[in-house]
Amino acid sequence: MATLEDGRPGAAPWLLSGPALLLFVGLLLVPLLLTLMLSFRVFSDTAGVTSAYTLTNYWEVVSDPYYGTIFLRTAGLAFAVTLLSIVLGVPETIVLARMKRPWQSLCLLIVLGPLLISVVVRTLGWQILLGNNGVLNNLLQSLHITSEPIRLVFTMTGMIIALTHVLVPFMVMSVWATMQKLDPQVEWAGRSLGGSPFAVFRRVVLPQIMPGVLSGSIIVFALSASAFATPALIGGRRLKVVATAAYDEFLGTLNWPLGASIAVLLLIANVAIVMGCSRLAERRFRHIFD
């Protein structure tokens, strides 16, 4: 086990982490600050970004119903994807945990592997599957479940399905990590005390994996709220989310200050949700785990 150095650390740790720190301050902190400042600038159609400062960008984002719809849609998307990830991902993780090697490793690889494949590829796959002429529609029609193709591309439903596919591995990861810490004898204890397998699952296993479900939900929610590629490709022009709206302003209208203000709001919302929920979860489950 590693032990920390005794005595005063001196300059060593700072020298070691210095280069990385410099890079981060220069290339992360500074750009973020610049973006913040940009969001306060005035934009005019003729002169572009001016040097005057204002709060109108934020006001516009907050008051204009156009953006209101976008924020609501994004939140709705995030909720739906999170819920679906829980419903789909948690049972799968439990099944995985009960598998024997080598099947377990193989299935885990299949489930988590797609995280290493670019999101473009995965989303392309959904476009192929969900298209009017796509595999899913052809399948449903050939099984005579539907007589006409169902529109799934450029719909909220399609977005939810595709985004869930992209993000459910994170839920599995989180719940899996929690399950690894469980003592299998605890389940047997529940059985010996008269609990049926179902009762033991409900009263003993499930409560213990709740922290994992919660932290997974936080990650999935945050990632789906800020998702870009999947909503852009599957949602299309008419179903904008926060990330694609920011893109529009920046690379479309070229109203950089407005785009920056959307970005800042997204960042604040993200950080607030993640840190707020994490803190809540920590307090709630503090007595259970180390």
Binding site: W188, R191, V200
Partner: protein, 359 residues
């Protein structure tokens, strides 16, 4: 009619046999220890009684009822696990009351019985705490309280003390035994610690490679071991190989390293190559009537006794002398050793033969 009976129990995993033809009868209210080294099958036996593992062959009868195929939650068997296996997300009271909850006991009665169980293990007032906030010893008591709160017909203890430090362990031996006696619950204790088995149990089943080598009271298990394995596993002993010269009505004449020893055979059909055993505490230093002489090779002081290793013509003899009066001579000195022949034991060298050769 015994309270718990295991008939012809065996457990095989593919080619590997964990338990072979086990027969065991446990009396009502007794505490029986399954004692043996790791891998001897004692935990597997316990798991079969609890219902976590299904036997390959054989039957298990509890109070006349065949529970072999019964699911664990229906058996009414309380289990204390080695790691305690407390529910981390429930309070102590929640843990202890879980069995009662599963039996649909009403809240008021449940609370009373939980309080009772907690006071029995001397944890009054800690009901609202969580397992994480307790010490190891306290967690163990919670595990015990949880198992007995539902008033099980049978209590199974799976190496419950192995995670406690030595001092605490000693205290818990006595305390747990007292609780068991007071409640009168039939109990099986699985352990590799022979002191624990001897301190707590009414009878010990010494297990070796999936079978019971000996089943007897602690005293008999120690004083009259039935197999070479039992001799060496319980306590320390001296063993000397020899050949049987003649078998008399009460004792056998065994040639050991040049001398002849008269060893009581206790009805065993000993013949040919045998081992002669004597416990270190049965050998003492003597001058005049020394049976054998030798040189002290090692002398170790362990507080309540001195442990000596003496090189004699019989071989290396271990001697334990209680710490009373003067210390024994130092290393290098010559001494004489003596014993009573009645304290000698003899067993055929082959484990299995010995067990079957016992009359």
């Amino acid at each position: 009619m015994a309270f718990l009976t295991l008939q012809g129990i065996s457990k095989r995993y593919g080619d590997f046999t964990a338990i072979e033809q086990l027969d065991l009868a446990v009396e009502r209210g007794e505490l029986l220890a399954l004692l043996g080294p790791s891998g001897c099958g004692k935990t597997t036996t316990l798991q079969m009684v609890a219902g976590f593992v299904t036997p390959t062959t054989g039957r298990i009868l509890l109070d006349g009822r065949d529970i072999t195929q019964e699911r664990p939650e229906k058996r009414g068997v309380g289990v204390v696990f080695q790691s305690y296996a407390l529910f981390p997300h429930m309070t102590v009271a929640g843990n202890v009351g879980f069995g009662l909850e599963m039996r649909k006991v009403k809240r008021k009665e449940r609370d009373e019985r939980v309080a009772e169980a907690l006071s029995l293990v001397r944890l009054n007032g800690l009901g609202h705490r969580y397992p994480k906030e307790l010490s190891g010893g306290q967690r163990q008591r919670v595990a015990i309280a949880r198992a007995i709160a539902m008033q099980p017909e049978l209590l199974l203890l799976d190496e419950p003390m192995s995670n406690l430090d030595a001092k605490l362990r000693e205290e818990m031996h006595i305390e747990l035994r007292a609780i068991q006696k007071r409640l009168g619950i039939t109990t099986i204790l699985v352990t590799h610690d022979q002191v624990e088995a001897m301190t707590m149990s009414d009878r010990i089943a010494v297990m070796h490679r999936g079978a019971i080598a000996q089943l007897s009271t602690p005293y008999d298990a120690y004083e009259r071991p039935a197999t070479p394995f039992a001799s060496t596993f319980l306590g320390r002993t001296n063993a000397f190989p020899g050949e049987v010269l003649r078998r008399n009505p009460r004792c056998a004449e065994v040639a050991v390293a040049g001398t002849t020893l008269h060893v009581p055979h206790e009805g065993r059909q000993v013949d040919g190559s045998v081992n002669v055993y004597i416990r270190p505490e049965k050998v003492h230093l003597a001058n005049g009537d020394a049976r054998v002489r030798g040189r002290i090779a090692t002398r170790v002081f362990v507080g309540n006794q001195w442990l000596l290793e003496v090189e004699t013509e019989l071989g290396k003899l271990r001697v334990a002398q209680p710490n009373l009066g003067a210390p024994p001579p130092e290393e290098g000195h010559e001494v004489g050793l003596a014993w009573t022949d009645d304290d000698l034991r003899v067993l055929t060298q082959d484990d299995r033969e010995s067990a079957h050769g016992h009359a």
